[in-house]
């Protein structure tokens, strides 16, 4: 069963426009949710984790348990935000992460 769903494989926005990358998860317990980013030719890097409720590089993500979503948002996209974004789920007591298929964000100058 698909634990993490990222419905958009590709997303293009203009510089300065708001961006939202969608992530839905399937898990009945208390999830740990993460956003990882992979810039061109670089490794997967942790961008955000829901537990810390922080904003990194202007991105935020709120866990909505009612909608089982953890969408990633930024009010004003920058060209350097162009990358692959992966939503990942950690289950309670489990030791691994379940990744979504990723969304490639392109910010058009």
């Amino acid at each position: 069963a698909q634990r993490v769903t990222q419905p958009e494989k590709l997303l293009s926005v203009f510089k300065g426009a708001p961006v939202e990358l969608k992530c839905n998860y399937s898990y009945s317990g208390s999830p740990e949710l993460f956003w990882y980013v992979q810039y061109s030719r670089q490794r997967l890097q942790l961008l955000l984790r829901h537990i810390s409720r922080e904003s990194i590089k202007g991105f935020t993500a709120d866990l909505n348990k009612g909608e089982t979503s953890f969408h990633l948002k930024k009010p004003f996209a920058q060209e350097e935000d162009s990358a692959m974004y992966y939503c990942a789920l950690g289950e309670t007591g489990a030791n691994n992460l379940f990744f979504g298929t990723g969304t490639r964000l392109t910010v058009i100058p």
């Binding site: 490794r43 997967l44 942790l46 990744f99």
Partner: protein, 114 residues
């Protein structure tokens, strides 16, 4: 800032050959992982390793795969007899503590099986 490193960055092998992919996790981390990503597909969990033994493995991690921590720094993934479908990026990751699932990833090894 410490990072996970992986060697080689690209490995080409013939079908049926054995390959060993190497990783050096962050030095004070205790939990180690291998993931793979077939081209165009999602990152998939293979195996986790703690206290010198496998703690979890996925269905993908069959008898052809094995992991080892041969010394205090390296963490290896061995594929005994490679198949065409083993071609993928293989990522190593490590984390410090059990209670928090933040994992740090290496740059990956691209394995091409011909």
């Amino acid at each position: 800032e410490p990072e996970v490193t992986q060697t080689p960055s690209h490995q080409v092998t013939q079908m049926g050959q054995e390959v060993i992919l190497r990783c050096v996790p962050i030095s004070n981390h205790l939990y180690f992982y291998w993931y793979r990503q077939i081209l165009g597909q999602k990152v998939e969990f293979l195996v986790s390793f703690y206290n010198n033994e496998i703690s979890e493995k996925s269905e993908i991690f069959d008898d052809q795969f094995s992991v080892e921590r041969p010394d205090g720094s390296n963490f290896t993934l061995k594929i005994r007899s490679t198949k065409l479908e083993d071609s993928a990026m293989y990522f190593c990751a490590s984390k410090a503590a059990l209670t928090y699932n933040e994992q740090f990833f290496g740059p990956g090894t691209r394995l091409t099986v011909l």
